[in-house]
Amino acid sequence: MQRRLVIAILVACAVLPIAFQALGQRQVYWLFVISEFYVFAIVAISLDLLMGRSGQISLGQSGFVALGAYTAAILNQRFNVDLPLGMLAGAATAAVASLVLGFPATRLRGHYLGIVTLGFGIAIDQIALKWDALTGGDQGIHLHRPALFGVDAGTPVRMYYVALVALVVAVLLVRGLTQTRIGRAFAAIKDSEVAAAAMGVPVARTKVLAFIVSAFLAGAAGGIYAFLAGFVAPEDFGIESSLLFFAMVVIGGMGSIPGAIGGAVVVDAVKNAAATVSGLSLALLGGMIVLVVLFFPGGLKGLLRTRRIRRERRPAPKGVVRQDA
């Protein structure tokens, strides 16, 4: 079932632009919205790696996204650097900057770490605003049309595939990582740092590594976003963005890639609905977070698991033998 679902979703995503041909020029908007969602999903996965897998709270993830976006934008604007190199440079910059947070993380936990990461997010936003000789200040930076190895990638369809491939790569990377020794070390630290240390896990190094990988992915997402939107400005990377990414992970359910992606779907859908449907507002999102924390602390992931367990525990109808029985 799970195997068929994964294939079906991937094939559906891959052929979506063909189906969207029927929309005519309307597809420009829809492809942009879905591409943007893929980018946000990468950020949600990156944050989930940090929070859900290694148990470290971050309220400043948009700071890493900003670093990736600005690095790509500055390189593109000044040196005409194209998309792959811009994205990788953005990811690398964010990964290097993550050391700033990674080392305090070795000493801090819980709320205190949350405050430090929050400060980091605010600082990046303000640096982008103040250092206008480099960042354009509040006027932002307009990028040149994106290119992919010398080929124009600026059409909505091509940017869609760039974002989709990036998301799939991010999923494979995180999934692969969680199945390695490093992933098990993340899980051990999340459960108990003392026990992990007793088992020989280098706690400090592993926590810093979680920050680096998470920041790398968020920075890559920022780099792609810069090319997708064609413009970056400090207002897009403030505390509100960090909290939206945080909400994606909480609503989706921590420690799960499908959960992070599901959370991104919900938050992005509510955000877009609040902007376009009169009478709806982001307060709806706030209410959802409260409900999830109070009644479904496991988020979408927990909700689906509970339903599956209930279904499995339900007695089978007479004459039917469960395959897993």
Binding site: I7, V168, A275, L282
Partner: protein
């Protein structure tokens, strides 16, 4: 148990790698089939078909900047007034307005929705410098008119932006209006500027310095700053007699209130963006005597343009007051209508642009506006209001004409 789990993992890896191969194949086939290249964006709706002309707008209706989103109600009132009088060339006007929360990323997505999904004819009266900065180049390239954005940022007045028509005075005019008045009426007095350190405050500072030559003290601040006590103490201890504030509304209110709490009462001049809201006399107890630059008549004015706007707001404003923010929307409607009503024949975007570029000394609620094929200038002039007896009054002999098309 372990064996099963390992088997499942291998199965999933297999599925994912196969799926990735499927994805790669699809991407390659779709992109090489030419579907991608056929979608270089050319905006739909370049010619009005049917009986409605649809405008699109993005304005913050949520978040800290939500008050400026009241512009929507002024634009709605203008559209309702036009429609009540038969519309334009027999066609009704309609507005689709979205809430961008003052987030440029959201503006980018919403403008794509307005242009490609809703197929609006023009973007009219969108609000905010950073939000408009995110989209003005793309709209210009897509030949979608961007009319009367709520900003005086110099980037929108650059030559070559054929489809971009600002209507506010450029921010440097704001500064020059202050500077000229100080030079004339407070000569020799120590003058200072406290300014928002961004694309809003810096051009105003530049305008002040252009007319005054120099100022005795310049104090920058960042938009998120909430405590200005050290800045106020610095102004007071430096013996500054005239303080010009290139600030947004909230920062302006905080600075003036902190001046009052420190018993510091210099001559104060605010920018137009800091004094447009209806509750300012309640928010700043020490407002009496304060000046404010303006390109609109003061609320409650007997100016015929304001009276027409206020009456329309009462009739069509859906309960929203006729304040300055709503007047921004009314102004945007006036600009769009002025171009549309001059079109003879099919209503196209290019025809609208051509007609707008013929407007000289066009009378609006914001004074006279000039456009030409070479220059899209917006409103020429600003003057000063002064707070007197709980309301704003126009200061005689305070008008500054910053137009290069005089």
């Amino acid at each position: 148990m372990m064996g099963l789990s390992k088997h499942k993992e291998e199965q999933m890896q297999h599925v994912l790698s196969r799926s990735l191969a499927v994805l790669a194949l699809t991407v390659a086939s779709v992109t090489t089939a030419g579907i991608a290249s056929s979608q270089t964006a050319t905006a739909p709706g370049a010619t009005v078909e049917g009986d409605t002309i649809v405008f699109g707008q993005t304005a913050a209706q949520s978040g800290p900047q939500a008050p400026i989103g009241a512009s929507k109600w002024g634009l709605e009132a203008f559209i309702a007034s036009v429609n009540a009088n038969g519309g334009v060339a027999g066609k009704k006007l309609r507005l689709i307005s979205y809430d961008d929360g003052y987030q440029p990323a959201q503006t980018t997505a919403l403008d794509k929705k307005l242009v490609y999904e809703d197929r609006v004819f023009a973007i009219v009266g969108s609000i905010g410098s950073p939000t408009t900065a995110a989209v003005y180049k793309a709209l210009n390239e897509e030949h979608v008119p961007l009319l009367s954005m709520g900003s005086g940022s110099p980037i929108f007045y650059e030559p070559g932006l054929k489809y971009v028509f600002p209507s506010w005075p450029i921010y440097t005019t704001d500064g020059e209006t202050m500077g000229n008045y100080v030079k004339k009426h407070f000569p020799g007095q120590a003058a200072a500027v406290i300014y928002q350190d961004d694309g809003f405050g810096k051009p105003i500072l530049a305008g002040i310095k252009k007319s005054l030559g120099k100022v005795d003290l310049e104090i920058p601040y960042v938009p998120s700053q909430v405590d200005f006590s050290s800045a106020v103490i610095k102004l007071k201890s430096s013996g500054i007699k005239v303080v010009m504030l290139a600030t947004i509304a909230t920062s302006g209110a905080q600075i003036l209130n902190q001046m009052d709490s420190l018993s510091y009462h210099p001559t104060r001049i605010l920018t137009s963006s800091a004094c447009g809201y209806g509750g300012i006399f309640g928010a700043i107890k020490s407002l009496e005597g304060t000046y404010c630059t303006a390109f609109l008549p003061p609320p409650g004015s007997s100016d015929p343009q304001w009276v027409e706007f206020a009456n329309a707001m009462q009739k069509y404003g859906q309960g929203h007051p006729p304040d300055i923010y709503a007047a921004w929307g009314w102004l945007a409607g006036q600009v769009a209508y002025a171009g549309l009503e001059k079109i003879k024949g099919p209503i196209t975007r290019d025809a609208l642009v051509a007609q707008l570029e013929t407007l000289r000394n066009f009378d609006t609620i914001a004074g006279k506006i000039n456009y030409s094929p070479e220059r899209h200038e917006g409103s020429c002039c600003q003057l000063l209001w002064q707070a007197k007896g709980g309301k704003w009054e126009i200061v005689p002999d305070s008008q500054f004409n910053g137009s290069a098309m005089k």
